[in-house]
């Protein structure tokens, strides 16, 4: 079971870069790392996914070191609208396991962006 650990909260200001780290010491060989964003009264929304090294898309970058025991979500130049909870998900759902399927969400990081 790839238990994940994230900071409970982070504060930032508009225009700054924010880096949120997730620790997952027991990550399995087949596991990917996925980050989601959640606003109040909404379901989580996919941001980015990676397996190793670095992945970048139009909203974020994901850095994964060689040992894959942690990952860092990087949000460039945050704005007030980036205030949300960010979840790190490690794992994959597997068929025909008979039970105990493990998709481990962290408890999330509350990011607060101020002017």
């Amino acid at each position: 079971l790839a238990k994940t650990t994230q900071p409970i909260s982070m504060d930032s200001y508009e225009g700054q870069e924010v880096n949120i780290t997730c620790s997952h010491n027991n990550i399995a060989t087949n596991d990917y790392i996925t980050w989601y964003q959640q606003f109040p009264s909404q379901g989580p929304r996919f941001i980015i996914q990676g397996y190793k090294t670095k992945v970048t898309n139009e909203v974020a970058s994901l850095f994964i070191p060689a040992d894959r025991k942690s990952s860092t979500l990087s949000l460039p130049r945050v704005s007030l609208s980036d205030t949300a909870v960010y979840y790190c998900l490690v794992g994959a759902h597997r068929r025909l396991t008979g039970g105990g399927n493990k998709l481990t969400f962290g408890t999330g990081t509350q990011l607060k962006v101020e002017l």
Binding site: G43, P44, R45, F46, R95, L103, F105
Partner: protein, 114 residues
């Protein structure tokens, strides 16, 4: 854009009642999931289904069952609701068979058991 629709945003039921939470997705996704979300505990997987009539237990299946009779619909059933099942319930779907595809979530059902 993928749409995952949960039938109710808020639901209030009584202890011992049988409760049905419904979820529908419109993108022909193979996989569907039910999670519960509680403060300080994050999201925990209850069940997932990778095909019609197929289901797999997640981390916390006790007290719940599921039904998937059609590909687009996944139901979560509380056979005899208890107060400790008061929570936010989230449904999600994803495509493919690899197990790593990003999930698309509905906006949740906040269930209160009195």
């Amino acid at each position: 854009d993928v749409k995952v629709t949960q039938s109710s945003r808020y639901l209030v039921k009584r202890t011992g009642e049988k409760v049905f939470l419904e979820c529908v997705q419109d993108m022909d996704h193979e996989n569907m999931f039910w999670y519960r979300q509680d403060p300080g505990l994050g999201l925990r997987l209850i069940y997932f289904s990778y095909d019609v009539k197929m289901k797999e237990k997640g981390d916390i299946p006790e007290g719940y069952s599921v039904s998937r009779e059609k590909k687009e619909r996944f139901s979560l059933i509380l056979e005899s609701a208890s107060t400790n099942q008061t929570s936010m319930y989230l449904c999600a779907s994803s495509s493919g068979t690899g197990g790593n595809q990003p999930q698309h979530f509905g906006d949740g059902t906040r269930l209160s058991i009195l």
